[in-house]
């Protein structure tokens, strides 16, 4: 990366990362633009890992998992939260803005074109039929994604109680997402409250 090194040489800002040189904002923008343009089929996290850990080596595996845990706990999409966190880690606020803007841009343009095309042709019987198939496939996709995430991240059987309470509150009692989030969330956090003598938290 001779051009990165040259860029960093021109930039005499203090290296806050202890890495010797800073990542140029332009590289951050281009990498996130690439991820934003190629991550067809959902599952952006896998594309982020390929680009940021394997290809660029900007963060290591452990940091990546750490940022992902923060992204999943905070509101916001994993993809955009990861962009903000990694962008900030690399180049502060400018890096965060570049990463966020770049990862959104390709999909935004594509969905705008899709939206315009849908308004023009969405009512045609053949299009409606195809989209009925697309929607059915999409529910299979989002359910599979949720099940995989659950298998990976739920540690104990009694986690299922909190999952169940949340689903029941939103889907059956028709409570708003914020109120369910606050009530069940606080219950679950208290359930997992720090306990000093018994177990050492992982």
């Amino acid at each position: 990366m001779s051009d990165a090194a040259a860029k960093a040489g021109v930039n005499s800002a203090p290296a806050s990362l202890g890495k010797g040189n800073e990542t140029p904002v332009r590289s951050i923008f281009l990498e996130f633009l690439f991820i934003g343009a190629t991550s067809f089929g959902g599952g952006v996290v896998a594309y982020l890992r390929d680009g940021l850990v394997a290809k660029r080596g900007w963060v290591n595996d452990q940091e990546f998992v750490e940022y992902l845990a923060i992204s999943q706990t905070l509101p916001g999409l994993n993809a955009t939260n990861m962009a903000v966190l990694v962008g900030d880690r690399l180049r502060g606020i400018r890096g965060a803005l570049a990463a966020l803007f770049a990862i959104c841009l390709p999909g935004a343009i594509l969905m705008m074109i899709v939206g315009v095309a849908y308004q023009a042709h969405g009512g045609k019987p053949m299009v409606t039929a195809a989209l009925k198939g697309v929607a059915a496939a999409a529910i299979g996709l989002i359910l599979a994604t949720t099940i995989k995430l659950g298998k990976k991240s739920l540690a104990h059987a009694y986690d299922l109680v909190f999952v169940g309470l949340t689903v029941f509150g939103v889907d059956q009692l028709h409570q708003s997402v914020p109120s369910v989030l606050i009530v069940v969330g606080i219950l679950a956090i208290l359930w997992y409250r720090p306990r000093k003598p018994k177990e050492t938290a992982q």
């Binding site: 067809f40 089929g41 916001g76 966190l85 959104c104 299979g140 599979a144 369910v180 969330g185 997992y192």
Partner: protein
Amino acid sequence: MTQLVSLLRVFSYLSILTVGGGLAAFPEMKNLVVNVHQWLNFTQLIHLYSMGQVSPGPNMMMIVAIGERVAGIPGVIVVLVAFFGPTALLAFFMGRLWTRLANWPWRSSIERGLTPVSIGLLLAGCLSFARGAVTDRGTVAIAVAVLLVLLISKINPAWLVLAGAIVGGLAFGPKVL
């Protein structure tokens, strides 16, 4: 102008509900954009949302299509700023704080406690979505087939959604032959 204000309010509210993923906000999104503001009907929301799931980048970019539909290019910009602004700011500041709180014992309590809640919110989103998308035997068959293939293989879901479009066109479309 009033539409732009409504877009701003609705999408910044939805933004903070996306705990665990965009799907967590789906039940509220359906209520607000379909029932309250009637910007589009449930079927149209399902169609746009489905296409947004396989488009590259963050999987909620379909909000752009709603912004465009309601108020053109200004609508697109307002929707993007409203939906991504609040959570980006939160991630920026909380990210810095969270890293500093690495040894705070409640930090892992919060992460572990919110995990099952976020999974529950995603499942509730799946259920709300399924009510509009899975309506007869044909759609059940497609949904189950896609689910099973994705659970046992590592195929890119975009191919399965494309297959869904072809099967849907053949099975539910006007008979052309």
